[in-house]
Amino acid sequence: MNALVWLAIPLIPLLLAVLIGLRPHRTRFNRWVPWAALPGLAGAAFGGDVEPAALDGLMLNTLLGLDPLGQAFLALTSGLWLAAGLFALSDRQDDPLRHRFYVFWLLALSGNLGLILAQDALSFYLFFSLMSLAAYGLVVHSNTGEAWRAGHIYLILAVVGEILLFAGFVMAIHQTGGDTRLTAIAEARPEGWGLALLVLGFGIKAGMLPLHFWLPLAHPAAPVAASAVLSGAMIKAGVLGWLRVLPLDETGHVLLGETLVLLGLAAAFLAALAGVLQSRPKTILAYSSISQMGLITAGVGLALVLPDLRPWLLMAVTLYAVHHGFAKGALFLAAGMTAQRPAGGAGRLAFFLFAALPALALAGMPMTSGALAKNTLKDPLYGADLAGWMAYTEFALTLAAAGTTLLMLRFLWCWHQAQQDIQAPPRADSRRWWAWGGLAGMSLVFPLLGIAVAPPEQVPAWVVLTGLSLVWPIGLGLVLGLLAWRWLPDRNRPWLQEGDLVVPLEWLAHASQRLWHSRPALIGIGRHPARLRWVRYRLRERLELAERVLTRWETIGLLFAAAMLGLYLTLWAG
């Protein structure tokens, strides 16, 4: 029975996708699209006590189940998909190709839910690739030149990521001697190329530094709901992969930990800097996602470096992921709500409040989910004895909050600018408001919910929702914002092209292609039909002449005599 439960969660969106795909004209099923995430939410709520199901027949004995870590991620994913689904329903109301959007949406949803439940490598890989490929459909949905380019780059990186993951899994399972369970992989502590491939495979999805450039391109191109889900839930799959596969046990992995921390922090600062130099709201949000994911990566790295603090840090990473998911989702929906700006005072206030709240939560405002996440991440670091540059990680983490604040200011300003040219406010669309409000509210509700549901012994740490280390980075951010606002003359022009690293890479690709085409055409030894026919004709001519000479009578006589002599000679010579 429990197999059916676990299977149902990814299968329901899949079945709905098939139904919509087969009957594109009938819109009856479109209404069900957002609610496809509901079973995921139910699973997250009650799944704790249902034990994992092993299905041998399916795909080399798949194993589906839910552990606490999975439960948290499942809650985040299904909640976010539900809200974004509602938003998308109305956002896509008049789009002629909406049924295609819904199909890809549901496929991505089922992939995302599935990979959280998957306990063995094969089904994890199945749902992971399903999610990546389906997301492509969402990215290129708007069918503009920019969307195709973004989609193209996204697909290349997604496919490369998948294949690296495949290779990583093969090497890891070779090491475990054929046991495909993820826990078995973790216990067998993959190392060398296997480990590198796994980290890279998940890193691409999680927007790790060198391979992050698909994010700032994909988000502005994708429809708002899609980028909300992409940035909020899908990226987290990379982190979940790390948590499932990396050797997070007593011994940990110091070298890997340190590299992750370094990459995380670098991502946090550089992404923030690149984000500030942008002018489109969604691009800024994309860069803020990269910087936040950098922090989570650093968290994972710390868990590897300090194995004894592991449970605490993993708890922090999970909380941070959930918090960032909801906040970023809300901000993206906000970017999509510009057209809904109400005229009146109360409506305008709520409008601005719903946008500012998640921004502040991200910045780490006390009493918000941001504060909870940052504190739980930083508290254990105080006591820990970290050698060399690692000692400054705690300070760097707090400094990152300043960067985020600056970024949030830049976003709010650009978002505000974007609303100037919208005139008559259309009638308020309740569904979108509900979705947006819900998500924005979560950044407040979530810490309280967290405390209520968390186990008693960890309660004291929860209480600290405030603290100086939260406040001074925000102040610093505000100061920097004011300075920048006054000095920099025109604020609307983007200083840095979107997708920073991609520009040189693309130039390189085009240059090599031009070189390849212009290479001197191989002196083809191709068939010169005319010459070939002429040679054959000459040959035929000469053969006929030879035969004619042979048939002349005296030749026959001479050959006869010659044959006799030849035979005699060989017989005699012996």
Binding site: E544, E547, R548, T551, R552, W553, E554, G557, L558, A561
Partner: protein, 133 residues
């Protein structure tokens, strides 16, 4: 002298002459073009072979070997029948191609091929009339 006479016994001179005739016939066959001359050359080669055979038969003191002579008789009759048929063929060839020479070369691809299975012979009367023209 006796040795010479003994050496030049008929059992030895005639076979040698026969071999020479054979060689002469072969030479003539290779050289001459006209078909009748070639048939003559073949006949001479035949006579050469028969001379060798009869020479062998006449060896030794006693009566000549009757089997060899019978074979020669058979050979002569065979030779004459082959020659007769060859001459008939030469006449036929001359009537068609106008000359009693061999046509060199493989069957040229454009040569008209009249396939006897399609031929419907004219009734004899008409053949006569056509022939007597």
């Amino acid at each position: 002298m006796e040795w010479l006479a003994q050496q030049l016994a008929p059992g030895l001179i005639y076979p040698t002459a026969g071999a020479l005739l054979f060689a002469l016939g072969l030479y003539g066959l290779i050289r001459r073009h006209h078909l009748v001359l070639r048939i003559l050359a073949l006949n001479i080669m035949g006579s050469g072979v028969f001379m060798v055979l009869l020479g062998i038969a006449a060896r030794g003191e006693g009566a000549p070997d009757p089997v060899a002579q019978a074979l020669t008789l058979t050979g002569i009759v065979v030779a004459v029948s082959a020659t007769a048929f060859a001459l008939a063929l030469v006449v036929r060839l001359a009537r068609i191609t106008g000359q009693a020479m061999m046509l060199p070369g493989p069957p040229d691809d454009e040569a008209p091929v009249d396939d006897i299975s399609r031929e419907e012979h004219a009734p004899s009367a008409e053949y006569e009339r056509e022939h007597r023209e």
